[in-house]
Point group: C5
Chain length 335, copies 5
């Protein structure tokens, strides 16, 4: 997530520079042909260009709406994870009861730390790569990776989980296909055992168990956004229409500028680049927003949110040495 | 679901080629009449064409929004099925209790395998055909079926169900009208019996039963999308307006190109084809998205999601020989 | 509901023919005045027409979005009725318990058949007429009634209810203002009595009672859509703007066609009819979608859905002579 | 709520007549200056007008969407009040139990009548006036008040409440700041007492109490729409842009009509009035929809809905002398 | 929140005056160059400007929709806080029971006053500043602060909390990272203790505890809107496109006005300012709406809503000296 006021222009222009080069070439070719070879028919009337432009604007607007919705829903899900984590905190602390205060404290810590394990496994799963994601396959995004680091790509899941689980459990979990899902199953098994031993009353057991179900909901919603891309048929026509528009734009401008004067046709190039850049930028912004867990600068900041949850819950447990919250780096990127 | 970066152009152009042929013909006719027979009145002014174009863009934008919503809701429902299936796993495992570990294990397995039976019956029901669906009635879609296989069309429901149910139950279920709904009724009857025999406490019984109600919700939502098409009155005007636009487009272009020069009117044909293709492609993309369970390349991948659920739940049961997840084929199609 | 691929053109054109006649007249008048009486000032510039056209397209797009939402929400509510009906089935069957199997069976049947009575009363209430509905007041809709029958207009509520309730209850219910609401109150009174006699445990009683509350929710949502029309102020401006557009359209076209040649002004008539027809059709489609329970060909198919619920629940009861599902008629209309 | 087919034109035109007078003046001034004083520069090119028109159409479309949503949400909330009122009816009747039938009946009546008191207090609160509301501050709306009456402005809250509460309670409630909220608190206190005296079982008590919480939700949602206007910054720019458009419209038309002929510039006035009227009407319709509880002809009909709830619940209690439902008046207005 | 009819023009124009100055300069430069240096090529055709204008209108419309949604959701969350606060009132009053009336009263007061403490801590947290917020970083917003005061910036959290908590608790809470979250944890610990001492029955305990979970949900949703800005990539392109449009607008107008006459090109300046002002105003309104808790004049009025909750709940407790509700100041601003 960018947490500054606006993106810096000195980041933005280089990030879109390949499209600018392309637009210069694609508008220079017909202009030169028109000017030097006098191919008059290249200057088509404006109206077909306007129609293609309108259709492209519709499609681009639609895409931006949907990718924004994906991002915002992803943030809502993580908001719900925050809320349910805090609820997990108070329900564990006040519903898991033992006459011996130190045993009770140990139980509370165990259940809350295993929750941190779930958060950790989940965020590592979300930051894996998918075939339709852009952060590693697009040169401009790879390049932009110099401005920030993705914590889940820098460290090892086992190492991270070790802080929150004992070795037996860890060895068992690490073999599982979907680690986060199986950690919640572990929590459930533990709650059953506490219920059977009378440390959670029957009524309270039902409530805490229901919270596990909600955590499965949140995990599943994350996986839905992670595993189901913005439909590729829509993404494909968006790309096709923008490229088509970039091809017909200079043809339409040629006819407009040629009305002013022969030399003015060269203005076709800068104007095509400016107008085309508007549409390519819309497209590239949409592309870089559609996968909110891919390790992009526009990602939902799941690492720092997980840290914030850890702080809140350890504060609830009364711990003293709380970790520091993660903050944005010098480029205002917060992961 | 297409899980690649974008659709390949060598798939896309052939998929829309009939519309291209049509556009060539429909624009060549008035152009030829204008050129050879000098029917000047065929070249109508641009403004009525622009108004029809705007109205068509509105309608097409509206349709794409709604079909996207249908697809996305279908995926959300299946996401909820994943979540509830995992919840089913932990609730069965930790709320169905027996002092004898092997009896308990058998009960868990029975209830979880019957859940797989429900998933199987449901996905077979969803992949049946409906009168308004397009995958089998449209030649370009039939043709595209060479790029992937629909698993539910290749195998037999009874065979598949046999893996998860005993023969008596299977014989009973196979006679029912709505098999999936009756499998859940079987689950409910089983839960009652377990409750009556004290293997599920009264409080826990209420919770598991509530989960069955949620599964009925998800099944019903699937059936809603399956059985209630995108309203045919809206689909009909979309088709009518696009065809109407394709007829008036070349007439409007004729007048624009004739202003440049007599021979330039032949440019009407390529330009009409390009602009018309934009609108026909929008329409065809919408059509191929509106039924997310028809066996289309853009379907929600319910077969592989069912498999993923099976893996997760059998992993929870502690089984060793887990089936492999389904992956996309060479054309990036995942069913 | 139309369950075919698309509306047939031989149905569609006659359905909108009055608007076509009107458009011919409204465009012929200024054209004739211009041509014969040389009233040049009738040919106004295009720009004001374009602005009115844009505003009308916005309003028409807005209306179609909202009427689609009304239809889709109506279908969602009926989907929820299907889900809750199935849940009613399993909860009655597995929570209403008696040691005597035949008494139990009779209780189950009574409660489930009374549910069919509720469905019947509800669908009769929904198919009554309201002042703002169009199916009986618009000649083109009345005419279209030859293509299908509305079952609730062909039969008698008392007769239908007799199948599901005993005579005492029926006599009592038939006097009530809101019959469906009072049938659910009957169900509630029955559940209380069963709870007091120990045939539903206290915990289970709370769950089944909660389901009745949900059925009230669904009934109330149906009544909301039935009794609260698409706001008449918005419907009114839609109609006014379309008619206004139909008046200014030929004036704008006159000036455009007169630039081509004097005789070409007669082209104003066909072009005005085509463009005006696009907007009138949008308006008429919107109108025929906005009330999803009025007995229109585009209604939610509540009769066949009620039948489907009856089949599923009687299948659950183990009955043998199940009724046949309702299917679409020859014109693809399913009610 | 207007429950007719459409607004009558003889109501509509007078309702917007002040805007028409304004438009005549604002377009006559530049036209006269242009014609008589030959101020040619007043005739500006069309393109800036078109851009302002497009931006205004966007803003007006946005506003109509949001005000429609406010109205529709208000109706949804009242639909939920209907549903919860019926649920209140069956839950009170079947969960508040006494061995003495007449005591039980009295208890049921007391709790249900106090619910009517809540509905009454709520609708009086909702029909109070706010600083941003339009029904009393706009002359055209004040004028329109001759076509209907707002029942809450014609009667006295104390008188109305007397029908449903005893004098002690009434005297207590009438002193409270938020009467509706405190009536629900009274219900809650009564339920507690009934629970303590064993007339509501512990399990059932929790369920009924939860319904009170839902009624607070509905009340609070009503208050949200009542007390939080459509944001004034958006309302302000809407008004400013429409007035700005009305000023530049005739300037743009001047240049278009002057191309036809000198005398034709006078056509600027009728055309400006027609086009400007479209935008002012959109604005005025939006304004009159944005506050659904202000006593406007487009209000949610909360008086008649409250009456309908009273009828249903007294029918449930088995009363005989039910009040009549409220119906629309001669002008089709239902409050 | 502005609670007047509309923003006053004498506030509005100064608030946007810097943009007006900028627009005068940016349009005067090319006009002067064109007029004095005869740089004809500066007058570009209108069509590229129209395309950029359309794309900018799309983006601006999109932004306004999303910022409106943020504001409205923020108000919905606070509406839910109102509802849950009232529910907290009746549940505490009627579910926390003691045979000794004065002990009971003290307990009720304690739990309800601690709820006020939570509201206080929450609103102080929400009115802190973030890097992307505008109220303190934008000169026009800083200037506008003269028209109202932000209560949370004028007083001290500890002082405010002292009214509602005892000193021990306060000293403990004030050290915590997230004070509001830890106050709810305190409530939870207190409920546990009351449950263990039999002052809340087991069933009722579960219900009140569930309400705490809902309060965590509301707090978390507030934090989501507070901590996750309108995505900076979208905000950035909005700003870039509006500035780009302001640069190309005068170039396009130059060509249009130069067609009328050489001196008329000076009209480029006022017309560019008017049209550019429309787009800059849209942008600035969006900017000032996107953060509904930043201390802006358009904020959700969380201070006065907290006060209203306090009044309602103390009224419920039967207190006599209720505080006065907060009302809008002379400039109609309500915080």
């Amino acid at each position: 997530m960018n947490s500054g006021r606006l993106y810096k222009l000195q980041h933005f222009i280089p990030w879109t520079r390949k499209k600018i080069y392309y637009l210069i070439v694609i508008s220079a070719i017909p202009t030169a042909l028109y000017y030097f070879l006098d191919l008059k028919w290249l200057a088509i009337p404006w109206v077909p260009v306007a129609l293609v432009g309108t259709a492209t604007a519709f499609i681009a607007g639609f895409r931006n709406t949907q990718t924004y919705n994906r991002l915002w829903e992803a943030r809502q899900i993580w908001g719900a994870i925050v809320n349910n984590s805090r609820a997990w905190g108070i329900m564990v602390k006040d519903m898991v009861r033992d006459t011996d205060a130190s045993i009770e404290k140990a139980l509370h810590q165990e259940l809350i730390y295993r929750h941190f394990a779930w958060l950790t496994a989940l965020r590592f799963q979300l930051r894996e790569s998918r075939g339709w994601e852009n952060v590693k396959t697009r040169s401009y995004n790879r390049e932009y990776l110099k401005y920030y680091k993705v914590p889940e790509w820098e460290s090892d899941l086992s190492e991270e989980l070790k802080k929150y689980m004992n070795d037996v459990e860890l060895a068992n979990i690490i073999k599982k296909k979907n680690k986060a899902a199986q950690i919640l199953a572990l929590q459930s098994a533990r709650l059953r055992s506490l219920n059977e031993h009378g440390k959670i009353s029957d009524l309270n057991y039902v409530e805490i168990q229901a919270l596990l179900k909600e955590l499965y909901d949140q995990q599943g919603k994350n996986e839905r956004i992670k595993n189901f891309p913005y439909p590729r048929q829509f993404a494909s026509i968006n790309v096709m229409f923008v490229y088509l528009l970039s091809i017909v734009l200079p043809l339409g401008f040629l006819s407009e500028f040629s009305k002013i004067g022969t030399n003015c046709v060269w203005l076709t190039i800068p104007v095509s680049v400016v107008v085309g850049w508007v549409f390519f930028t819309l497209e590239q912004i949409g592309e870089s927003t559609e996968n909110p867990f891919e390790g992009n600068a526009n990602d939902v900041p799941i690492t720092s949110m997980s840290r914030a949850i850890e702080i809140d819950l350890r504060d609830m447990l009364g711990e003293e040495n709380l970790p520091e919250p993660l903050v944005a780096n010098n480029n205002n990127i917060l992961m």
